[in-house]
Amino acid sequence: DQQVKQNSPSLSVQEGRISILNCDYTNSMFDYFLWYKKYPAEGPTFLISISSIKDKNEDGRFTVFLNKSAKHLSLHIVPSQPGDSAVYFCAASADHNTDKLIFGTGTRLQVFP
């Protein structure tokens, strides 16, 4: 049972445009969400997070939106840059005391010139 889903395995965006990566979850107990970026042969790098008490969090070019009623979150990257090309994972946590993360399957973003 995949509790965190990223239904788009890949996304291709032109440089300068907006990239929107989506993530859906099924467990209503999740209360903390994170996005990670991963390059091949490297560990995931933390990008941005959001608590369930918020519906938006912004950090530079990255904004995460959370829609609790729809159990959906999205990551917006504006403007997209070629260096953003990587695999993006969303992750969720249901217990702040353990920080145990459940990951989605990832979306491969390619930003072309």
Binding site: A41, G43, T98, L101
Partner: protein, 114 residues
């Protein structure tokens, strides 16, 4: 952020052998975790490494196959025992404070079993 070092970064292993992966953190951390990412798959939590006690394993993972040590607050090891080609994966150590703060990952250890 914590600096996390993993060894080895990459190895090719013979079927039936065991390999121990080390994870060293540059500061004391409460929680340490081991994840696996099989080719083309997402990251899956193997276990939580508890300091001074046995690790807590997730469903589908057992101590005999993935023994874990956590002798102190900055170090942990994961052993992949009696390896088969299905164990070919990236194994990742991660650390995090409690209360939902950011969780950081090491660079990963890429194991290929032949």
């Amino acid at each position: 952020s914590a600096v996390i070092s993993q060894k080895p970064s990459r190895d090719i292993c013979q079927r039936g052998t065991s390999l121990t992966i080390q994870c060293q953190v540059d500061s004391q951390v409460t929680m340490m975790f081991w994840y696996r990412q099989q080719p083309g798959q997402s990251l899956t939590l193997i276990a939580t490494a508890n300091q001074g006690s046995e690790a807590t394993y997730e469903s589908g993972f057992v101590i005999d196959k993935f023994p874990i040590s956590r002798p102190n607050l900055t170090f942990s090891t994961l052993t992949v025992s009696n390896m088969s080609p299905e164990d070919s994966s990236i194994y990742l150590c991660s650390v995090g404070p409690s209360s939902g703060n950011t969780i950081y990952f090491g660079e990963g250890s890429w194991l290929t079993v032949v």
